[in-house]
Amino acid sequence: MTEQTLPPQESDPFGERIDILTDELELSIQWQRPCILMVAYASEYVRADFVSMLENSLIDMGQRVVWVHVDSQSSSKINLLNETFKETKNAVFFVDGFTTELIEKKDFRAALNYYKDLFAEKNVRILFWLTHKDALLIAQRAPEFWTARNRIIDLVEAPKPEQILRSTLESAWQGTFEYNNHFDDTEAKITLRESFLTELPRSAESTGTRANLLLTLGVLHWRKGDYEKADEMLQNALKVAARMHDNWFEAECFNAIALVKSSLGRNDEAIDAYKQAIKLAPDQIFAWNNLGNLCLKIQRNDEAMIAFQKAIEHNAKDPISWNGLGDVYSRIEYIDDAIAAYRKSIEYGPMFPHPWNGLGEMYARIGRTNEAVLAFQEAINLNQHFISSWFGLAKLYAKQERYREAVKAYQQALNIDPKNTSVWNELGTIYFNAKRYQDAVESFLKAIELDRTFAWAYSNLGLAHSTYGRVKDSLPLYLKSLGLFTDDKDKAVTWNRLANSYRMLNDYGNAIKAYQKADALNSGASPKEEENASDAAVTESVSDMAPQAESSQPVEGSDAAPVEETEPQPEPTPEVEVTPWVVSPAQDAQSNATVTHTIGAISLQMSLPLFSNATVLEEEYEAPKADSTNARVWNEKGNVHFRAAAYDEAIVAYEKAINLDHSFGWAYCNLGLTYLTQNRYAEAILLLQKSIELLVLDRDRAVAWNGLGNLYRRLNDYDNAVVAYQKADELDPENAGVRDDVESFHSEQNTNNARVWNELGDLFFKSNSYLEAANCYSKAIEMEPMNSSSFSNLALCFTYQSKFEEAIPLYLKSIELSHADAEKAASWNKLGNVYRKLNDYDNAVTAYQNAVKLTNEQTTVVSRARFSLLGNCYVD
């Protein structure tokens, strides 16, 4: 048995169908009698309209509509259904959820037969909502149930054109690929619409419907990737549209054609199509938005900006336009404008995940990590499949060394796009940093499996193998990656790695050759560049994933690398808009002397780079432990964070300092200055005032008064500002006026603690402030001349400043002073690196061999040697 189409003369208008059902229900309600009705429909749109109208009628009759959704459990839960139909007074039951599978189940059919008697017994008024197919199946499989019906109403109407169009726009496509939620049921949508198209009568009245169907099919085929078919459908739609003299519709067709052209890479044709659409219907903002997105995609940023602005002109509250504008600003590094645009988009489209993602990217870029995390999380909450946000979140977590969370986030990204090689690579990095080598290996292998030309995956896999002790396995991988790399810097990194592997195998001949290769490739770079050259091994740029993705961490281990290898590229100083009199670089010509002399009151320069992505540490350098009880150390930590624009972290550090020492005036002062940058004026005033009470030296108190003056200026309270400045000048007349340009973070001098100087040196080193770090270590040496670590650290500072000759005696001194063989070995290793930099390979080899001799555990020493050569990594 199959369905047949009803002859047109025998189908009633929509309204009459409603009346029939309403009458039946009305009478059964009047007499409190049972009523079993069925409604067979072809279109969900029509059903929805029908349901809506019927529900309204029933509500007018004082009835409540109780929806019952049947499923595979329904048949076995008679008691449950007895309960469901217990209260039948003033209730009409709507039953849906029928499927072919369900109807085919014997139990279910038996249950239907049972229920029909129950309905009669309990005077139930009930409507069964069935597709035509289900209705047919029920008649075939459960004839008793079918014959029990009072009426069956057939809804044969096709959906109205505006329904199709609206739904087409909503459900079929949205203009850019990431604005839709899912394409899962594209095939089913195509099939349905093709069947509509086939059944459409060949008459003038069906033109509109036909055109809409062709347009929708065109878009659906585009989504599916069948561009040829899409184009065919759309061209047909255009032809039909011409008959309708409907500019709006024609514009939609051109818009859709543009999408197809764009997907085919014919961008100019796509732009022309968009322009056609705009010409036909200038008020259509989605054409402007689409044009903007296309221009953005092909790096025509100015045109993109114009397009989005045009869209906004037509509708100032369009979230898509604002988001697009945000993307443009982001592209051209107008961070604040981008943030503002994204916020606008959020304001007008709070459920739109894209601007949240954009905001996350911007906050991440300027170091507002917590806000970035929240923004990404919000985007994810709105759309779990938003891979960009998962990626952004993962990178942030990795940056914060929250590896477990980073792994989870990458895994989520992989759930969405399991073939994304960059994510696999990133995941490998995280695993490597967390010392989960096997997982790292698997991740890198996966990346390679998906992309056999992924050079970094090969190189990183080699690194993982060599770390895991499988040194020989790493060699062919390095060589493979060298064949694939095109960038000299990338090659240099891998040559270094290869050299290290050769060293591990005691093949110094090949090792030296490899080092020479690496050095040659690096020789064109300035010392600073070398110094900052990052082993971006793990992280390829992920521009294919997200527009703002950054390179992430190098893989390697913990020890600070020789300059040329592994120090990651520090982030460029963000264009933080600050009032000049709040912060500016110290322009003192005797800055070094000043720094040396007043080491306790360091003028921190805002031009210093922020924290780099990878935190570089020598093995013996440790970050200040979280549980340090030294308020000064926390104060300096706060200073470092402040320089990195990580104000939240700075606040935490200063507060910690204050908690540890309530009389520590500088901590109050610095905290107050931090609040000032965040416009938290009230708190800033209180803190600065407190610091004035606590600070002892006039010079120090002058700084605090000066800060207070700056604050009052911000509040346009010039009277108080003048008073504050006068106070400052009275206390420190030598620096009167100069201080206006400098907002300094200060630390209290503590000349009696070499450990503190060492720790301070660590902090500076960590933030790439090698000059300051060297000064601190020098100070430590002055206090403790027999401390081998201080000599070694100082030597490393010189190394990073390319002062290799000066580093040598310091390393030798360190070796001389070291007691433990391991310490000596480490210093010999580093010395070897320095000799290499000076092309003194003989001495380098000797140094390395000395390193090896000093330990019994070959692997450990070799590993340590490799770590020292591999560069700046954080090993957990």
Binding site: M1, Q4, L6, I20, W31, I78, D107, A135, D154
Partner: protein, 420 residues
């Protein structure tokens, strides 16, 4: 059913009520036939009545089938009130749905229902059973309950260890109906001593006979509701056991079972309630006035004939194909249309419209092969209980008739479709 006063309708609203498709026609409180009840021509139920009244050695068992809407339940209710039957039998009528879950029905459920209902109905009507019998029944009950509690292994059970056999039977029925787990357990126990249960039924039946001097007659309705497989398992696989109780039983069976091959063996004990003949086989031009009169009476008992045009009435009867339920459907649908038109009475266009509606409902579920078959039957009226015809019979696309022999014809509303 306070609104159901079985009075002739003088307006469309009441008429709509009176033509409800499954309106049960229970006898009145004073035992009189329901006002809407009409005798059928040739009175087929008389055959059953005669069979029941005929002498027998063993109380008879009959199977009663018929089309949906042909009036089986009504006829069983009517049979209950037959004077002759009342004289010979002590009748009870119940629906198996009240005693067990018909989706998961088993022969054991039916037997337990028979025994339980017999006992409880007799006691409810004031009958007294000998103490000895009660003692024996109690012994049996105790045995069963002991086994149940053993099976349940001491866990707290909702099975009430009732103080009385009434409670036992009442609970057993309820548990069979509502608790699958208990049902399984009870069945196991019953199965271990099925003859014991039959003996119990027979004891009760004998006691009633002894007291009342009438053989218990059990009319079990809705046995046509379980699906075909379950019905086969009871009436074919377990036929012998189902014939064991020493009381007269009338089991309703579904038309699907009636038409199935397995039923061949017991068709001689079966009665099929046919539809009203409106014309002879193969001759649509000749109307059976008796059939038309019967169905016209069906209408006139429910609705004032002022509410319908005579030609419309006649056309409605024609379209009904002699099936009461289909006539009710046509009239009801016509009432709806006339009502919407705000007409004073049902006219031909309303009846035609109703026929069209019904035809469309079939159009959607019949394919070319079905149409071919229908055309064939239209031409030869040949009835066969085949797999191919059975679905069409069940859907009432084909209607069965009986005069000198059994034959069938296409539902009248579908004729126009076959001519297209």
């Amino acid at each position: 059913m306070s609104n159901l006063d079985y009075i002739i309708a003088t307006d469309f609203d009441r008429a709509w009520l009176n033509f409800e498709l499954d309106l049960p026609l229970k006898p009145t409180r004073d035992g009189m036939p329901n006002p809407f009840y009409i005798d059928r021509p040739s009175n087929p139920i008389a055959e059953l009545t005669d069979a029941l009244l005929a002498p027998f050695y063993r109380p008879p068992k009959f199977f009663f089938s018929g089309h949906r809407g042909c009036g089986k339940s009504t006829e069983l209710l009517h049979l209950m009130n037959n004077e002759e039957i009342q004289k010979k039998y002590w009748p009870i009528n119940f629906s198996i749905r009240d005693e067990t879950d018909i989706i998961d029905i088993d022969f054991r459920d039916v037997l337990l229902a028979i025994g339980g209902r017999l006992f409880r109905e007799y006691r409810k009507k004031g009958g007294e059973l000998p103490d000895q019998l009660l003692k024996e029944l109690d012994g049996w009950r105790g045995n069963v309950e002991k086994k149940i509690s053993t099976v349940l292994e001491g866990r707290v059970s909702s099975y009430e260890l009732g103080a009385s056999i009434d409670a036992f039977f009442a609970n057993a029925g309820l548990k069979m109906k509502l608790e699958p787990a208990t049902r399984v357990e009870l069945r196991q126990i019953v199965e271990t001593d099925i003859t014991g249960l039959i003996a119990i039924i027979n004891h009760i039946a004998a006691a009633i006979y002894s007291k009342e001097r009438r053989i218990p007659l059990i009319l079990i309705d809705d046995m046509d509701k379980p699906d075909l497989d379950k019905a086969r398992a009871i009436f074919h696989d377990r036929r012998e056991i189902m014939m064991q109780p020493n009381c007269a039983i009338v089991y309703t069976v579904s038309s699907a079972l009636f038409y199935s091959k397995e039923f061949d063996a017991i068709r001689d004990q079966a009665l099929f309630l046919p539809n009203i003949n409106l014309h002879p086989a193969g001759d649509l031009s000749c109307n059976f006035s008796q059939g038309y009169t019967t169905l016209a009476r069906f209408i006139s008992l429910r609705m004032d004939l002022e509410l319908i045009e005579m030609c419309a009435l006649e056309q409605a009867v024609t379209y009904s194909g002699g099936v009461f339920r289909e006539l009710a459907r046509i009239i009801r649908t016509s009432i709806g249309r006339a009502r919407r038109r705000k007409a004073e009475r049902i006219e031909m266009e309303d009846v035609e419209w109703a026929a069209t509606e019904i035809r469309n409902e079939y159009r959607r579920i019949l394919d070319r092969e079905d149409i071919k078959l229908l055309k064939k039957v239209r031409d030869n009226n040949h009835l066969e209980y085949s797999e191919r015809l059975r679905p069409l019979l069940q859907l009432l696309a084909l209607l069965e008739y009986r005069d000198n022999e059994n034959w069938c014809d296409v539902h009248p509303v579908l004729r126009k479709m076959l001519d297209d």
